[in-house]
Amino acid sequence: MTGAAARLDPGVRSDRPVRFLIVGLAVLLLALAGGSASNYSSFVVAQATVSIVPTTNLALHGTNLDGTLTPEGSVTITLDLLVDNPSSRVLRLRLLAFSEWVEDGPALAGLNESRRIQDDRLVDENGTRYFYRAFGESTEVAGDTIDACSRASFAFMYTLTNASNSIRFGVVRNITDYWASTKGEATAGTWISWVRVQLAIEGVPVASSPSAAAYVFALGTIERREGINLAAPP
């Protein structure tokens, strides 16, 4: 039915309600697209701007008068982790990996050949230096959050004793003894630390299917690494 006959037909109605529906859905889609873009931008800002500043403090407890460790002593490292979050997203600390190496003086001096072979190496302008991994911890951290546009500080303590790991403690004791005898201070050797932190962005639904794309999982996670990882393959 076309033309004047159609226009005069009483069954013919205006399509104005349909237009309103289209405009309504278009506005809804624009709002959703705008919200998605804003959400996405906040993720990008978080991924790009979040930073960490780790600082370590080394302390030897249970020492002799010359500063060397006794068999009942302990090596304690306090890791202060400052997380700066300038983004509008709330972050949650999820994973913390920490390693600390001490320069293996006895191995460098040729006093312990087997350890020199196993040690991690650092090649610099002075040649190859040998480091023993005194601490190597990876822990899942739950519950600690960093609010939007704020900084948060976390403290973690790592202790090495004869009871917790006798082999490592024995080696560290040997190395600190060497530095105490050669440099006059047990902690005079170079200590190198490496920190890897995984922060989860709050409010991100997690894909349940194992076939989900890897980047879908990566989007909600911020990973930061600081320091030198001597255990990393060259």
Binding site: A6, D15, L25, L30
Partner: protein
Amino acid sequence: MQLRLNFGPRFRWMLKGTSLAAFLGLALGYTVFCSIFPNVSVPAEGEASVARILGLLAAAGVLAGLGTDDLPTGVLQGFSIDSVRPRNRVCVGHLAGPQGFLEVRADDIFPFIVRLGLPIYLSALPIYLVTCIVGMVLRERLGLRSASFLGAGSLARRK
């Protein structure tokens, strides 16, 4: 004296067709974004819901069909979405790569590209064509006519 803009019928036809094509393009762009980044979109989901995506495309197609006057316009609208595809790809799909916060490994490139909305781009045109025709059939059944058409009718009646 009242100033009144009086566009020609051809211009109005083009404006209406372009508006509906833009509406379909908006729906397509949003669904592509949802399919690529389901956990970042609003509303956020763990994984993209195929039913939601197809439902949204179909709803947009039916509504566009309800607002379309004739079949050639409907088909033209469906095909004109092609012009927004490259922009969608650049603006949405490839956004994450150059920003450098997503690392795509060599063995991930193919699935990454496939997931960049390609299935939706491929299926959008037939979905839009079919649902647009469904909408136009409904429009005919409900006897819906545009305001300009009815305006012309009342003018004819007055004469």
